[in-house]
Protein backbone atom coordinates (compact mmCIF):
# COMPACT_ATOMS: atom_id res chain seq x y z
CA UNK A 1 0.00 0.00 0.00
CA UNK A 2 2.69 2.47 1.07
CA UNK A 3 4.80 1.28 -1.85
CA UNK A 4 1.98 2.16 -4.26
CA UNK A 5 1.56 5.66 -2.77
CA UNK A 6 5.30 6.30 -2.95
CA UNK A 7 5.44 5.04 -6.52
CA UNK A 8 2.55 7.30 -7.58
CA UNK A 9 4.19 10.32 -5.97
CA UNK A 10 7.48 9.62 -7.72
CA UNK A 11 5.74 9.12 -11.06
CA UNK A 12 3.83 12.38 -10.60
CA UNK A 13 7.01 14.34 -9.89
CA UNK A 14 8.75 12.72 -12.85
CA UNK A 15 5.84 13.50 -15.18
CA UNK A 16 5.74 17.14 -14.02
CA UNK A 17 9.49 17.53 -14.49
CA UNK A 18 9.50 15.94 -17.95
CA UNK A 19 6.56 18.09 -19.10
CA UNK A 20 7.59 21.40 -17.60
CA UNK A 21 11.37 21.47 -18.00
CA UNK A 22 11.26 21.07 -21.78
CA UNK A 23 13.78 18.25 -21.61
CA UNK A 24 14.03 16.16 -24.79
CA UNK A 25 11.90 13.03 -24.98
CA UNK A 26 14.83 10.82 -25.91
CA UNK A 27 16.84 12.03 -22.92
CA UNK A 28 14.10 11.54 -20.36
CA UNK A 29 10.70 10.29 -21.52
CA UNK A 30 7.71 11.17 -19.31
CA UNK A 31 5.92 8.28 -17.59
CA UNK A 32 2.97 8.90 -19.90
CA UNK A 33 5.26 8.40 -22.90
CA UNK A 34 6.57 5.16 -21.37
CA UNK A 35 2.97 4.04 -20.81
CA UNK A 36 2.17 4.79 -24.43
CA UNK A 37 5.21 2.82 -25.55
CA UNK A 38 4.12 -0.06 -23.31
CA UNK A 39 0.79 -0.13 -25.12
CA UNK A 40 1.92 0.58 -28.68
CA UNK A 41 4.86 -1.85 -28.60
CA UNK A 42 3.05 -4.57 -26.64
CA UNK A 43 3.54 -7.30 -29.25
CA UNK A 44 7.25 -6.50 -29.61
CA UNK A 45 7.73 -6.23 -25.85
CA UNK A 46 5.90 -9.49 -25.21
CA UNK A 47 7.89 -11.52 -27.71
CA UNK A 48 11.15 -10.19 -26.26
CA UNK A 49 9.89 -10.62 -22.70
CA UNK A 50 9.27 -14.35 -23.17
CA UNK A 51 12.91 -14.76 -24.25
CA UNK A 52 14.30 -12.90 -21.22
CA UNK A 53 11.85 -14.51 -18.79
CA UNK A 54 12.97 -17.91 -20.05
CA UNK A 55 16.60 -16.99 -19.51
CA UNK A 56 15.89 -15.79 -15.97
CA UNK A 57 13.74 -18.78 -15.01
CA UNK A 58 16.03 -21.40 -16.52
CA UNK A 59 19.16 -19.69 -15.26
CA UNK A 60 17.77 -19.60 -11.72
CA UNK A 61 16.78 -23.24 -12.03
CA UNK A 62 20.33 -24.15 -13.03
CA UNK A 63 21.69 -22.07 -10.14
CA UNK A 64 19.25 -23.74 -7.75
CA UNK A 65 20.18 -27.28 -8.82
CA UNK A 66 23.94 -26.61 -8.78
CA UNK A 67 23.76 -24.43 -5.67
CA UNK A 68 21.83 -26.99 -3.62
CA UNK A 69 24.09 -29.81 -4.78
CA UNK A 70 27.11 -27.73 -3.83
CA UNK A 71 25.68 -26.75 -0.42
CA UNK A 72 24.84 -30.36 0.42
CA UNK A 73 28.28 -31.55 -0.70
CA UNK A 74 30.00 -28.93 1.44
CA UNK A 75 27.71 -29.76 4.36
CA UNK A 76 28.64 -33.44 4.21
CA UNK A 77 32.36 -33.05 3.67
CA UNK A 78 34.74 -30.86 5.64
CA UNK A 79 37.38 -31.39 2.95
CA UNK A 80 35.03 -30.09 0.26
CA UNK A 81 34.19 -27.14 2.50
CA UNK A 82 37.83 -26.17 2.67
CA UNK A 83 38.32 -26.81 -1.05
CA UNK A 84 35.16 -25.23 -2.47
CA UNK A 85 34.28 -22.29 -0.24
CA UNK A 86 37.20 -20.08 -1.35
CA UNK A 87 36.42 -20.92 -4.99
CA UNK A 88 32.78 -20.00 -4.41
CA UNK A 89 33.70 -16.58 -3.08
CA UNK A 90 36.17 -16.21 -5.93
CA UNK A 91 33.40 -16.97 -8.42
CA UNK A 92 31.46 -14.01 -7.06
CA UNK A 93 34.23 -11.57 -7.93
CA UNK A 94 34.34 -12.51 -11.62
CA UNK A 95 33.44 -9.32 -13.50
CA UNK A 96 30.40 -10.41 -15.47
CA UNK A 97 30.71 -7.46 -17.83
CA UNK A 98 34.03 -8.80 -19.10
CA UNK A 99 33.11 -12.46 -19.12
CA UNK A 100 29.79 -12.08 -20.91
CA UNK A 101 31.27 -11.16 -24.35
CA UNK A 102 33.76 -14.01 -24.01
CA UNK A 103 31.00 -16.49 -23.37
CA UNK A 104 29.15 -15.17 -26.39
CA UNK A 105 32.30 -15.63 -28.47
CA UNK A 106 32.58 -19.22 -27.27
CA UNK A 107 28.96 -20.30 -27.33
CA UNK A 108 27.23 -17.95 -29.75
CA UNK A 109 24.12 -15.78 -29.51
CA UNK A 110 21.86 -18.53 -28.12
CA UNK A 111 20.59 -19.44 -24.69
CA UNK A 112 23.78 -21.04 -23.31
CA UNK A 113 25.81 -17.93 -22.38
CA UNK A 114 22.72 -16.31 -20.79
CA UNK A 115 22.06 -19.34 -18.63
CA UNK A 116 25.71 -19.48 -17.62
CA UNK A 117 25.76 -15.83 -16.56
CA UNK A 118 22.43 -15.88 -14.70
CA UNK A 119 23.45 -19.12 -12.96
CA UNK A 120 26.89 -17.76 -12.08
CA UNK A 121 25.40 -14.65 -10.47
CA UNK A 122 22.62 -16.51 -8.61
CA UNK A 123 24.75 -19.39 -7.43
CA UNK A 124 26.38 -17.70 -4.45
CA UNK A 125 23.25 -16.14 -2.89
CA UNK A 126 21.63 -19.59 -3.03
CA UNK A 127 24.55 -21.55 -1.58
CA UNK A 128 25.29 -19.29 1.38
CA UNK A 129 21.87 -19.14 3.11
CA UNK A 130 21.27 -22.84 2.38
CA UNK A 131 24.59 -23.87 3.88
CA UNK A 132 24.01 -21.54 6.79
CA UNK A 133 20.62 -23.14 7.53
CA UNK A 134 22.14 -26.63 7.28
CA UNK A 135 24.93 -25.69 9.66
CA UNK A 136 22.57 -24.13 12.18
CA UNK A 137 20.61 -27.35 12.77
CA UNK A 138 20.59 -28.02 16.50
CA UNK A 139 23.39 -30.36 17.58
CA UNK A 140 21.02 -31.87 20.16
CA UNK A 141 18.62 -32.77 17.37
CA UNK A 142 21.39 -34.69 15.61
CA UNK A 143 22.17 -36.48 18.89
CA UNK A 144 18.51 -37.34 19.30
CA UNK A 145 18.42 -38.86 15.82
CA UNK A 146 21.53 -40.87 16.65
CA UNK A 147 19.92 -42.33 19.76
CA UNK A 148 17.02 -43.36 17.52
CA UNK A 149 19.57 -45.24 15.44
CA UNK A 150 19.18 -42.94 12.43
CA UNK A 151 21.74 -43.09 9.64
CA UNK A 152 23.50 -39.94 8.43
CA UNK A 153 21.22 -39.95 5.40
CA UNK A 154 18.04 -40.31 7.50
CA UNK A 155 19.10 -37.41 9.68
CA UNK A 156 19.65 -35.37 6.55
CA UNK A 157 16.34 -36.32 4.97
CA UNK A 158 14.16 -36.00 8.08
CA UNK A 159 15.84 -33.15 9.96
CA UNK A 160 18.47 -31.18 8.06
CA UNK A 161 16.87 -30.89 4.64
CA UNK A 162 13.49 -29.59 5.91
CA UNK A 163 15.31 -27.25 8.32
CA UNK A 164 17.25 -25.80 5.40
CA UNK A 165 14.17 -25.00 3.31
CA UNK A 166 13.76 -21.44 4.65
CA UNK A 167 17.40 -20.82 3.73
CA UNK A 168 16.82 -22.12 0.20
CA UNK A 169 13.85 -19.81 -0.26
CA UNK A 170 15.77 -16.83 1.12
CA UNK A 171 18.50 -17.59 -1.40
CA UNK A 172 16.00 -17.84 -4.25
CA UNK A 173 14.44 -14.50 -3.24
CA UNK A 174 17.84 -12.81 -3.14
CA UNK A 175 18.59 -14.22 -6.59
CA UNK A 176 15.48 -12.92 -8.34
CA UNK A 177 16.48 -9.28 -8.64
CA UNK A 178 20.06 -9.92 -9.66
CA UNK A 179 18.95 -12.61 -12.11
CA UNK A 180 17.06 -9.93 -14.09
CA UNK A 181 20.15 -7.71 -14.17
CA UNK A 182 22.36 -10.62 -15.17
CA UNK A 183 20.04 -11.64 -18.02
CA UNK A 184 20.00 -8.07 -19.35
CA UNK A 185 23.79 -7.85 -19.17
CA UNK A 186 24.16 -11.15 -20.96
CA UNK A 187 21.87 -9.94 -23.74
CA UNK A 188 23.79 -6.67 -24.08
CA UNK A 189 26.94 -8.70 -24.66
CA UNK A 190 25.45 -10.41 -27.68
CA UNK A 191 21.96 -11.60 -28.53
CA UNK A 192 19.30 -11.49 -31.19
CA UNK A 193 16.25 -11.19 -28.92
CA UNK A 194 15.18 -10.33 -25.37
CA UNK A 195 14.40 -7.19 -23.40
CA UNK A 196 18.10 -6.33 -23.06
CA UNK A 197 18.51 -6.72 -26.80
CA UNK A 198 15.48 -4.46 -27.29
CA UNK A 199 16.99 -1.77 -25.02
CA UNK A 200 20.28 -2.00 -26.86
CA UNK A 201 18.54 -1.36 -30.19
CA UNK A 202 16.07 1.25 -28.92
CA UNK A 203 18.48 3.72 -27.33
CA UNK A 204 20.63 4.55 -30.41
CA UNK A 205 17.35 5.03 -32.30
CA UNK A 206 16.15 7.65 -29.83
CA UNK A 207 13.35 5.30 -28.73
CA UNK A 208 14.13 5.87 -25.06
CA UNK A 209 10.50 5.42 -24.04
CA UNK A 210 10.59 1.90 -25.50
CA UNK A 211 13.75 1.10 -23.54
CA UNK A 212 12.08 2.36 -20.37
CA UNK A 213 9.04 0.24 -21.14
CA UNK A 214 11.33 -2.80 -21.31
CA UNK A 215 12.78 -1.85 -17.91
CA UNK A 216 9.28 -1.55 -16.46
CA UNK A 217 8.39 -5.03 -17.68
CA UNK A 218 11.60 -6.50 -16.35
CA UNK A 219 11.05 -4.91 -12.91
CA UNK A 220 7.43 -6.06 -12.82
CA UNK A 221 8.56 -9.59 -13.63
CA UNK A 222 11.16 -9.58 -10.86
CA UNK A 223 8.64 -8.23 -8.35
CA UNK A 224 6.10 -10.87 -9.43
CA UNK A 225 8.67 -13.68 -9.04
CA UNK A 226 9.63 -12.35 -5.63
CA UNK A 227 5.97 -12.25 -4.63
CA UNK A 228 5.47 -15.79 -5.88
CA UNK A 229 8.40 -17.03 -3.80
CA UNK A 230 7.13 -15.19 -0.72
CA UNK A 231 3.73 -16.78 -1.22
CA UNK A 232 5.30 -20.21 -1.64
CA UNK A 233 7.27 -19.66 1.57
CA UNK A 234 4.11 -18.83 3.53
CA UNK A 235 2.18 -21.75 2.12
CA UNK A 236 4.92 -24.37 2.31
CA UNK A 237 6.77 -23.28 5.44
CA UNK A 238 4.20 -21.79 7.82
CA UNK A 239 6.25 -23.06 10.75
CA UNK A 240 9.18 -20.86 9.81
CA UNK A 241 7.18 -17.73 10.59
CA UNK A 242 5.86 -18.64 14.03
CA UNK A 243 7.40 -16.83 16.96
CA UNK A 244 6.68 -19.84 19.19
CA UNK A 245 8.25 -22.43 16.93
CA UNK A 246 11.47 -23.96 18.20
CA UNK A 247 14.44 -23.34 16.04
CA UNK A 248 15.40 -26.67 14.58
Amino acid sequence: MMAAVLLLALLGAWEAYADLSGIDDFVLPAPSAVATALYDDRALLWSNFTVTAGEIALGMLVALVLGLACAVAIHFSAALRRALYPLLIGSQTIPIVLVAPLLVAWWGFGLAPKLAIVALVCFFPIVVPTLDALDRVDADLRKLMRTFGASRWQTFRMVEAPAAMPGVLTGAKLSVAIAAIAATLAELAGSDAGLGNLMLKAIPNFQTARAFAAVVILSAFAVALFGLLTLAERRLLPWAHQPRGTAP
Partner: protein, 259 residues
Protein backbone atom coordinates in the same frame (compact mmCIF):
# COMPACT_ATOMS: atom_id res chain seq x y z
CA UNK B 1 -4.48 -32.29 32.73
CA UNK B 2 -4.92 -35.89 33.72
CA UNK B 3 -3.31 -38.91 32.26
CA UNK B 4 -5.82 -41.18 30.69
CA UNK B 5 -4.94 -44.63 31.90
CA UNK B 6 -6.40 -47.52 30.03
CA UNK B 7 -8.84 -49.80 31.76
CA UNK B 8 -7.37 -53.07 33.06
CA UNK B 9 -7.49 -55.73 30.39
CA UNK B 10 -7.11 -53.29 27.53
CA UNK B 11 -4.16 -53.94 25.24
CA UNK B 12 -1.00 -52.12 26.27
CA UNK B 13 -0.10 -49.23 23.96
CA UNK B 14 3.00 -50.89 22.57
CA UNK B 15 4.70 -54.24 22.53
CA UNK B 16 6.20 -55.12 25.89
CA UNK B 17 9.92 -55.60 25.58
CA UNK B 18 12.32 -56.95 28.10
CA UNK B 19 13.64 -54.03 30.11
CA UNK B 20 17.32 -53.24 29.81
CA UNK B 21 19.69 -52.22 32.55
CA UNK B 22 22.46 -49.66 32.91
CA UNK B 23 25.78 -50.35 34.55
CA UNK B 24 28.57 -47.79 34.87
CA UNK B 25 31.74 -48.57 36.80
CA UNK B 26 34.51 -46.06 37.67
CA UNK B 27 33.85 -44.00 34.58
CA UNK B 28 36.23 -41.16 33.74
CA UNK B 29 35.53 -38.63 31.00
CA UNK B 30 37.78 -35.72 30.21
CA UNK B 31 37.29 -33.13 27.51
CA UNK B 32 40.28 -31.76 25.68
CA UNK B 33 40.76 -27.99 25.96
CA UNK B 34 39.01 -26.05 23.21
CA UNK B 35 41.45 -23.14 23.25
CA UNK B 36 45.04 -22.73 24.25
CA UNK B 37 45.47 -21.66 27.81
CA UNK B 38 42.36 -23.48 28.96
CA UNK B 39 43.02 -26.72 30.78
CA UNK B 40 41.33 -30.00 29.98
CA UNK B 41 38.03 -30.41 31.80
CA UNK B 42 37.37 -33.59 33.71
CA UNK B 43 33.60 -33.98 33.63
CA UNK B 44 33.34 -37.30 35.44
CA UNK B 45 35.98 -38.83 37.69
CA UNK B 46 35.35 -42.39 38.76
CA UNK B 47 31.59 -42.43 38.65
CA UNK B 48 29.64 -45.62 39.23
CA UNK B 49 25.94 -46.09 38.67
CA UNK B 50 23.62 -49.07 38.55
CA UNK B 51 20.12 -49.02 37.19
CA UNK B 52 18.71 -52.56 37.16
CA UNK B 53 15.90 -53.29 34.72
CA UNK B 54 12.78 -51.28 35.47
CA UNK B 55 14.37 -49.02 38.06
CA UNK B 56 14.21 -45.24 38.04
CA UNK B 57 17.51 -43.71 39.11
CA UNK B 58 17.74 -39.97 39.56
CA UNK B 59 21.01 -38.09 39.51
CA UNK B 60 21.12 -34.69 41.18
CA UNK B 61 24.04 -32.35 41.38
CA UNK B 62 25.18 -28.78 41.00
CA UNK B 63 25.39 -27.21 37.53
CA UNK B 64 28.37 -28.41 35.52
CA UNK B 65 28.93 -31.63 37.41
CA UNK B 66 28.89 -33.70 34.26
CA UNK B 67 25.27 -34.83 34.37
CA UNK B 68 24.69 -34.39 30.67
CA UNK B 69 27.98 -36.19 29.90
CA UNK B 70 26.74 -39.07 32.02
CA UNK B 71 23.64 -39.44 29.85
CA UNK B 72 25.62 -39.17 26.63
CA UNK B 73 27.81 -42.02 27.89
CA UNK B 74 24.74 -44.15 28.63
CA UNK B 75 23.33 -43.39 25.17
CA UNK B 76 26.61 -44.26 23.52
CA UNK B 77 27.05 -40.77 22.08
CA UNK B 78 30.49 -40.46 23.68
CA UNK B 79 32.96 -43.08 24.86
CA UNK B 80 34.53 -43.06 28.35
CA UNK B 81 38.25 -42.45 28.78
CA UNK B 82 38.38 -45.10 31.51
CA UNK B 83 35.96 -47.40 33.28
CA UNK B 84 33.11 -49.50 31.95
CA UNK B 85 29.77 -48.55 30.46
CA UNK B 86 27.27 -51.35 29.88
CA UNK B 87 23.87 -50.12 28.87
CA UNK B 88 20.97 -51.49 26.88
CA UNK B 89 20.09 -49.29 23.87
CA UNK B 90 19.04 -45.98 25.37
CA UNK B 91 17.20 -42.95 24.07
CA UNK B 92 17.80 -39.38 25.13
CA UNK B 93 15.11 -36.88 26.03
CA UNK B 94 16.38 -33.38 26.56
CA UNK B 95 15.21 -30.33 28.47
CA UNK B 96 14.11 -28.74 25.23
CA UNK B 97 11.41 -30.75 23.51
CA UNK B 98 13.31 -30.68 20.17
CA UNK B 99 10.11 -31.22 18.21
CA UNK B 100 10.45 -30.65 14.48
CA UNK B 101 8.41 -27.51 13.77
CA UNK B 102 7.36 -28.70 10.31
CA UNK B 103 5.88 -31.95 11.58
CA UNK B 104 2.49 -32.33 13.23
CA UNK B 105 2.27 -33.70 16.78
CA UNK B 106 1.51 -37.19 15.54
CA UNK B 107 4.33 -37.15 12.98
CA UNK B 108 6.74 -35.87 15.62
CA UNK B 109 5.71 -38.66 17.96
CA UNK B 110 6.18 -41.15 15.12
CA UNK B 111 9.68 -39.92 14.21
CA UNK B 112 11.61 -42.77 15.81
CA UNK B 113 9.26 -45.31 14.23
CA UNK B 114 9.85 -43.77 10.82
CA UNK B 115 13.61 -43.95 11.43
CA UNK B 116 13.18 -47.62 12.25
CA UNK B 117 11.53 -48.10 8.86
CA UNK B 118 7.89 -48.44 9.96
CA UNK B 119 5.46 -47.34 7.22
CA UNK B 120 3.89 -43.92 7.49
CA UNK B 121 0.33 -45.01 8.21
CA UNK B 122 1.26 -47.66 10.72
CA UNK B 123 3.63 -45.28 12.52
CA UNK B 124 0.92 -42.62 12.66
CA UNK B 125 -1.56 -45.13 14.03
CA UNK B 126 0.76 -46.13 16.86
CA UNK B 127 1.68 -42.53 17.60
CA UNK B 128 -1.95 -41.40 17.61
CA UNK B 129 -2.89 -44.16 20.07
CA UNK B 130 -0.16 -43.04 22.45
CA UNK B 131 -1.06 -39.36 22.10
CA UNK B 132 -4.61 -40.35 23.00
CA UNK B 133 -3.32 -42.04 26.16
CA UNK B 134 -1.37 -38.88 26.94
CA UNK B 135 -4.49 -36.73 26.79
CA UNK B 136 -3.59 -35.10 23.48
CA UNK B 137 -6.65 -36.30 21.64
CA UNK B 138 -7.68 -33.71 19.06
CA UNK B 139 -4.17 -32.23 18.85
CA UNK B 140 -2.70 -34.93 16.61
CA UNK B 141 -2.49 -32.64 13.62
CA UNK B 142 -1.37 -29.54 15.52
CA UNK B 143 2.09 -28.17 14.80
CA UNK B 144 4.43 -27.75 17.79
CA UNK B 145 4.02 -23.96 17.84
CA UNK B 146 0.31 -24.44 18.39
CA UNK B 147 0.85 -26.49 21.57
CA UNK B 148 1.60 -25.43 25.14
CA UNK B 149 4.95 -26.25 26.75
CA UNK B 150 3.48 -29.15 28.73
CA UNK B 151 1.77 -30.60 25.68
CA UNK B 152 4.94 -30.37 23.65
CA UNK B 153 6.86 -32.19 26.35
CA UNK B 154 4.24 -34.95 26.29
CA UNK B 155 4.59 -35.27 22.52
CA UNK B 156 8.37 -35.49 23.03
CA UNK B 157 7.82 -38.19 25.64
CA UNK B 158 5.55 -40.13 23.30
CA UNK B 159 8.28 -39.94 20.66
CA UNK B 160 10.82 -41.18 23.24
CA UNK B 161 8.63 -44.14 24.27
CA UNK B 162 7.92 -45.11 20.67
CA UNK B 163 11.64 -45.38 19.95
CA UNK B 164 11.33 -48.88 21.41
CA UNK B 165 14.39 -48.32 23.58
CA UNK B 166 13.95 -49.79 27.03
CA UNK B 167 16.28 -47.33 28.72
CA UNK B 168 15.23 -43.69 28.90
CA UNK B 169 17.75 -40.97 29.62
CA UNK B 170 15.91 -37.88 30.74
CA UNK B 171 18.01 -34.73 30.86
CA UNK B 172 16.17 -32.21 33.04
CA UNK B 173 13.02 -32.95 31.06
CA UNK B 174 10.85 -30.34 32.73
CA UNK B 175 13.35 -27.59 33.53
CA UNK B 176 12.01 -25.36 30.76
CA UNK B 177 8.46 -25.40 32.16
CA UNK B 178 6.92 -23.10 34.75
CA UNK B 179 6.72 -24.41 38.32
CA UNK B 180 3.06 -25.40 38.22
CA UNK B 181 3.24 -27.17 34.85
CA UNK B 182 6.42 -28.87 36.01
CA UNK B 183 4.68 -30.43 39.04
CA UNK B 184 1.79 -31.48 36.84
CA UNK B 185 4.18 -33.07 34.36
CA UNK B 186 6.11 -34.87 37.11
CA UNK B 187 2.89 -36.46 38.37
CA UNK B 188 1.97 -37.23 34.81
CA UNK B 189 5.33 -38.88 34.11
CA UNK B 190 5.02 -40.98 37.28
CA UNK B 191 1.63 -42.16 35.99
CA UNK B 192 2.93 -42.83 32.48
CA UNK B 193 5.87 -44.86 33.81
CA UNK B 194 3.51 -46.85 36.04
CA UNK B 195 1.59 -47.88 32.90
CA UNK B 196 4.63 -48.43 30.67
CA UNK B 197 7.59 -49.23 32.93
CA UNK B 198 11.06 -48.38 31.70
CA UNK B 199 14.56 -48.27 33.08
CA UNK B 200 15.14 -44.58 33.60
CA UNK B 201 18.18 -42.46 34.30
CA UNK B 202 16.82 -39.05 35.24
CA UNK B 203 19.23 -36.17 35.51
CA UNK B 204 17.93 -33.09 37.26
CA UNK B 205 18.90 -30.24 39.54
CA UNK B 206 15.42 -30.28 41.07
CA UNK B 207 15.77 -32.38 44.22
CA UNK B 208 12.01 -32.65 44.70
CA UNK B 209 11.59 -33.97 41.17
CA UNK B 210 14.22 -36.61 41.87
CA UNK B 211 12.62 -37.73 45.15
CA UNK B 212 9.07 -37.81 43.76
CA UNK B 213 9.95 -39.86 40.69
CA UNK B 214 12.91 -42.08 41.49
CA UNK B 215 13.55 -45.37 43.26
CA UNK B 216 17.06 -44.20 44.06
CA UNK B 217 18.72 -40.80 44.08
CA UNK B 218 22.45 -40.27 43.51
CA UNK B 219 23.94 -37.01 44.70
CA UNK B 220 26.91 -35.91 42.61
CA UNK B 221 29.79 -33.69 43.71
CA UNK B 222 30.73 -30.52 41.84
CA UNK B 223 32.99 -31.13 38.84
CA UNK B 224 34.63 -33.56 38.44
CA UNK B 225 31.46 -35.46 39.19
CA UNK B 226 31.45 -38.50 41.43
CA UNK B 227 28.77 -39.97 43.65
CA UNK B 228 28.72 -38.39 47.12
CA UNK B 229 25.63 -40.09 48.47
CA UNK B 230 22.96 -42.59 47.49
CA UNK B 231 19.43 -42.25 48.86
CA UNK B 232 16.92 -45.06 48.50
CA UNK B 233 13.40 -43.76 48.11
CA UNK B 234 11.46 -46.64 49.62
CA UNK B 235 8.06 -45.02 49.33
CA UNK B 236 5.23 -46.77 47.47
CA UNK B 237 3.54 -45.11 44.51
CA UNK B 238 1.49 -43.09 43.87
CA UNK B 239 3.44 -40.66 46.00
CA UNK B 240 2.31 -37.41 47.52
CA UNK B 241 4.75 -34.56 47.63
CA UNK B 242 3.73 -33.80 51.22
CA UNK B 243 4.47 -37.36 52.41
CA UNK B 244 6.64 -37.03 55.54
CA UNK B 245 9.17 -39.59 54.26
CA UNK B 246 9.60 -37.72 51.00
CA UNK B 247 9.99 -34.41 52.79
CA UNK B 248 12.66 -35.91 55.03
CA UNK B 249 14.53 -37.47 52.10
CA UNK B 250 14.42 -34.17 50.31
CA UNK B 251 15.98 -32.43 53.29
CA UNK B 252 18.72 -35.05 53.42
CA UNK B 253 19.46 -34.74 49.72
CA UNK B 254 19.71 -30.96 50.01
CA UNK B 255 22.05 -31.37 52.97
CA UNK B 256 24.28 -33.70 50.95
CA UNK B 257 24.32 -31.22 48.10
CA UNK B 258 25.46 -28.42 50.39
CA UNK B 259 28.14 -30.56 52.00
Amino acid sequence: MLTRIRAPGAAPPEVETELGSVFLRDVVKTFAPRRRGVGAVTALDGLSLDAPAGEIVAVVGPSGCGKTTLLELVCGLVAPDAGRVDAAPAVLMAQRDLLLPWRSAVDNAALALRVAGVGREQARGQAAALLYDFGLEGFERARPYELSGGMRQRVAFARTLLSGRTVLCLDEPFAALDALTRQEMQDWLAGALAVAPRTVVLVTHDVEEAIVLADRVLVLSPRPGRVMATLDVDVPRPRRRTDARLVELRARALEELRA
